[in-house]
């Protein structure tokens, strides 16, 4: 890994997919409670964590995201009953696959966050940003076919 | 000023509790067996730390009258744990004497009359597990 002499302050790019019913509302609550987290996090509203197609996640990485987090309702609390269960399986398999091909653990995360958990949302985002900051720029996931 | 801030931080670090959580319910003072001996009452500890009156707290009789019975720690509904706060104050005094960290087997040799009994009692209770 090459290191520049003067280290520019690295700011990660983080995409968060939040379900409309729990996590997006939780993010709103974090906002109205003024519980800050880094501006590196950009939220995309989706109806349900089950709507998050693995394609979206890979797309974000390919376009230069350093971390992707998916937030949904707690298991059992999905607004659509079951969407988060499927998301949980999908993401478990996808994350395990990413680890398998040698991508650093921690660039992807799933967190269950209810509409009442503004504090948890903020805490999660702070932790996630810190983790991505420590991992640095995403190189490996930029091109899984690995042709440079 | 900066020194006070440092001390406040130190107390928070040592005790691991947050004085701002205190709601002044007084359950600690109600539970304290040494209440009558104390010049600063347990429910006041948090305010002293919030205000930054650390010196006063450290020099108080209260700090050394605490029996470390941990009743206040057990019962505090807000997890402020006044007993830990005052213990932290005692630790500050002792650390200023540069008697910082100890191994258990070093203790017997170090037991000099200068070491306050209360500090040892508290330390043993705190680390008994």
């Amino acid at each position: 890994m090459s290191m520049n002499e003067e280290k520019k302050e690295y700011r990660p790019l983080i995409v968060a997919f939040c379900c409309n019913w729990c996590s997006y509302a939780g993010a709103d609550l974090a906002g109205s409670s003024r519980l800050s987290y880094p501006a590196d996090v950009k939220i995309i509203r989706v109806p349900c964590s089950g709507r998050v197609n693995p394609m979206f996640i890979l797309r974000a990485f390919e376009r230069g995201a350093d971390g992707v987090i998916i937030c949904g309702c707690h298991p059992g609390d999905c607004h659509y009953s079951t969407g988060n269960y499927y998301a949980r399986r999908r993401m478990a398999l996808l994350f395990s696959m990413l680890e398998y091909i040698g991508v650093e653990n921690g660039r992807t995360r799933v967190e269950w966050c209810s509409a009442a958990e503004g504090a948890k949302f903020s805490k999660t985002m702070n932790e996630f940003c810190e983790k991505i900051q420590s991992l640095g720029e995403n190189v490996r996931l930029g091109d899984l076919r690995c042709k440079n | 000023m900066a020194n006070v801030e440092k001390q406040v931080q130190l107390i928070k670090d040592i005790s691991g509790s947050d004085p701002y959580k205190c709601m002044r319910c007084g359950k600690c003072s109600a539970s304290c067996p040494s209440y009558n001996e104390m010049d600063i009452k347990p429910h006041q500890f948090a305010s002293y730390i919030i205000r930054g009156d650390i010196d006063e707290l450290v020099e108080s009789k209260a700090a050394w009258k605490c029996l470390s019975c941990f009743a206040c720690i057990e019962r505090c509904p807000r997890d402020v744990q006044p007993g830990k706060l005052v213990d932290a104050a005692r630790q500050i005094v002792e650390r200023q004497r540069e008697g910082d960290y100890l191994q258990p087997d070093e203790i017997p040799a170090l037991l000099d009359p200068e070491t306050p009994q209360q500090l040892l009692v508290s330390a043993f209770r705190r680390y008994r597990r």
Partner: protein, 666 residues
């Protein structure tokens, strides 16, 4: 190509203080598709909306991006505004630059940069938006109220009075709930049953209300306007139609004399027979057999009640029955209970029968209660002279292990009530209340509390009690500190009353899950908006009433019950509901007919049909997915499961989300 107008809201200083609004306007002006960009102080205001309408007309806008507060707040407002100007409401996207930007970031430059990115994502999305049309679904003109306490009773009465059918499901044998256990109510000291019983009777006689007591909600499916609910009517073992409510069975039940079954209604201070009505005014006045305790059900012997029943109403063979009913709206009014006090060993609740909770005190003071309204110690049946009240037991605690984080809200007032009532009956009783804060916001509330102090000389001491210790002589030693006097107190008492924290009825979590209504960490149901939609759940068609939503007293519960009823009536008054047009859509040319989507659809909205398709000149019959738009709720589970990408979600299409990702990662 769309012609997009971007409107950036200052929200007073809420946004403008941290986001350079003008700069956002300048930077998004040249985004693809944008033909107009402007800012305004309050976009949601009349004048702000007027500005949007003018711009739509002047520039022939085909899409709008509003950079403002959360879409959960004003998306509807701006959609309606677009519609007014003749634009399809679904051509509006909101970039959340308040809750998710200005309010959480401090650095102006950083926040502005993020606001621009969020705006770009919304612009990119609008570029791909298509006009959507809402569908229609019918409304079943019947409401379900879960819980038959004062909240449920009032809600049901209000809905029924408006002319709609209402069913109440109550898990206990009688309606009435917690309020029926109370003696008097604050701040006017009305007798609780005097004001509640008439309402209970009214419910029972109302032509529009059906009661399901001793029943539970078993399963819920469907959606707003069209819920299907399975109700389990537990076997009462007594024939409803034959029973006259004479009460002979309860009197003769041998277990009533042995006295081994603690009465739930009297909080265990009294015993009850195995066949019983919870209390004299129970509605319906039909007893139930507690099969777990009944000798007949345990051993097959006894059968006394069946023998002596004059109308032959006892039926041991009765079985649980499940009925399925259709509803348009559901109100959750499951109420509360008090917390378990096991973790407060210092207050000796489990050690001494003379340490009681406030609800137990209500029963002890009630003329129909276990002592006939005579206040006495449970240990020696003597009248207590010195009584200590301890406030905030388990309320306002920091962590879950310690108790509940919230204020239970009703304790300060009912403690003042108890103190005054006791003083009224037995003026030479000494009463001490240990409090942390006395909280009395409410009409005539502080006056009420002051009366306790000034007129009744109740001794209020600031300082939480540290320990209650039973003494060998049968008294209780209360250890506390008077924080204002700076004195520690050791006080002897004959009775200690604990103001235990309230908590939502433990069964509510199961119900919330069935309803997919969201619930907070303390098991209180979440409202759609804390201020503006306090009686609605975020789940459409589910409404909240009473303590299930948060701690509140009777006047507040009754007002909320009325408010919930109005919302229900507003819903039932409609013949048709507009349905969410953001539904799944299947591209028949791409669909494989593999059934994967149908396997994950929670609503059974996907079916398969053989249809004729023309694919590049090839005409063939294919098995393809069809979405029932009335059933589809737009979760998108099918879209992620679909291998070919044939299934897509309108309003959140694959391309729209992908383009948002691209815009953010640009």
């Amino acid at each position: 190509m769309q012609k997009i107008g971007v409107f950036v809201c200052h929200c007073g200083t809420n946004i403008a203080a941290t986001v350079d609004v003008k700069k956002v306007v300048e930077l998004v002006r040249y985004e693809p598709g944008v033909v107009f960009a402007d800012d305004y102080m309050y976009m949601c205001s009349e004048a702000g909306q007027e500005k949007i309408i003018e711009a739509i007309k002047e520039y022939g806008l085909t899409g709008l991006v509003i950079c403002s507060c959360s879409p959960r707040m004003h998306e509807k407002t701006f959609r309606a505004c677009a519609e007014k100007a003749g634009l399809n409401p679904y051509m509006v996207e909101v970039a959340n630059i308040r809750e998710q930007c200005s309010w959480i970031h401090k650095d102006r430059e950083e926040a502005t940069k993020k606001a621009v990115i969020l705006a770009r994502a919304a612009i990119a999305k609008v570029n791909l938006n298509t006009p959507l049309k809402e569908g229609e679904s019918p409304v079943t003109k019947r409401a379900l109220v879960i819980g038959g306490g004062i909240a449920g009773i009032q809600t049901a009465l209000d809905i029924a009075d408006a002319g709609y059918q209402v069913d109440i499901v109550e898990k206990e044998p009688s309606i009435g709930g917690r309020m029926s256990q109370f003696d008097k109510t604050f701040p006017t000291l009305d007798c609780a049953s005097c004001i509640l019983t008439p309402k209970m009777v009214e419910v029972n006689q109302h032509p529009n209300i059906t009661l399901y007591t001793y029943s539970e909600v078993e399963k819920v499916s469907g959606y707003v306007g069209n819920f299907d609910v399975d109700i389990r009517k537990k076997a009462r073992s007594v024939d409803f139609d034959k029973c006259t409510g004479c009460g002979e069975c309860s009197t003769k039940c041998p277990l009533g004399k042995i006295g081994k079954i603690p009465s739930e209604f009297d909080r265990g201070l009294k015993n009850r027979p195995a066949i019983y009505m919870p209390f004299a005014q129970a509605v319906p006045a039909v007893p139930v057999i507690d099969r777990e305790n009944c000798t007949y059900f345990k051993t097959g012997k006894c059968g006394v009640c069946a023998k002596i029943c004059p109308s032959k109403a006892v039926d041991y063979e009765q079985k649980d029955e499940i009925v399925t009913v259709k509803y348009g709206a559901i109100v959750v009014a499951t109420g509360f209970d008090i917390i378990n006090l096991d973790k407060f060993g210092e207050y000796a609740y489990n050690e001494s029968p003379d340490v009681i909770t406030s609800i137990e005190l209500e029963r002890l003071m009630n003329a129909a209660g276990p002592t006939g309204g005579h206040l006495e110690r449970m240990s020696d049946h003597k009248q207590p002279k010195d009584i200590v009240f301890i406030q905030c037991v388990g309320s306002r605690c920091d962590s879950e292990e310690k108790g509940k984080p919230y204020c239970s809200k009703v304790c300060c007032m009912y403690t003042a009530k108890h103190a005054m009532l006791i003083k009224d009956h037995w003026p030479d009783t000494n009463i001490t209340v240990f409090y942390i804060d006395v909280r009395t916001p409410g009409k005539n509330f502080d006056e009420f509390y002051r009366r306790a102090v000034e007129q009744y000389h109740v001794n209020y001491i600031k300082g939480q009690v540290g320990k209650v210790k039973p003494q060998p002589d049968g008294s209780l030693m209360v250890q506390a500190a008077d924080l204002l006097d700076g004195k520690q107190i050791n006080m002897k008492a004959d009775m200690v009353v604990l103001a235990a924290a309230v908590e939502p009825n433990p069964g509510v979590r199961k119900i919330a899950t069935m309803l997919t209504a969201s619930i907070d960490n303390n098991n209180f149901l979440t409202e759609a908006h804390a201020k503006l939609r306090p009686v609605e759940s975020p789940t459409a068609g589910i409404f909240l009433s009473g303590m299930a939503q948060g701690p509140k007293d009777i006047p507040e519960t009754v007002s909320q019950a009325g408010a919930a009823a109005v919302k229900v009536i507003g819903l039932l008054a409609k013949d048709k509901l507009k349905t969410n047009p953001c539904t799944a859509q299947c591209d028949t040319l791409l669909c494989n007919g593999c059934s994967t989507c149908a396997n994950v659809c929670p609503y059974g909205a996907i079916t398969y049909d053989d249809v004729q398709v023309m694919d590049h000149g090839l005409r063939e019959t294919r098995r393809v997915a069809q979405v029932n738009l009335a059933l589809c709720q737009g979760c998108g589970a099918c879209t992620s499961a679909c291998p070919s990408g044939a299934m897509d979600l309108q309003g959140f299409s694959n391309r729209q989300i992908t383009t948002e990702v691209d815009a953010i990662c640009r």
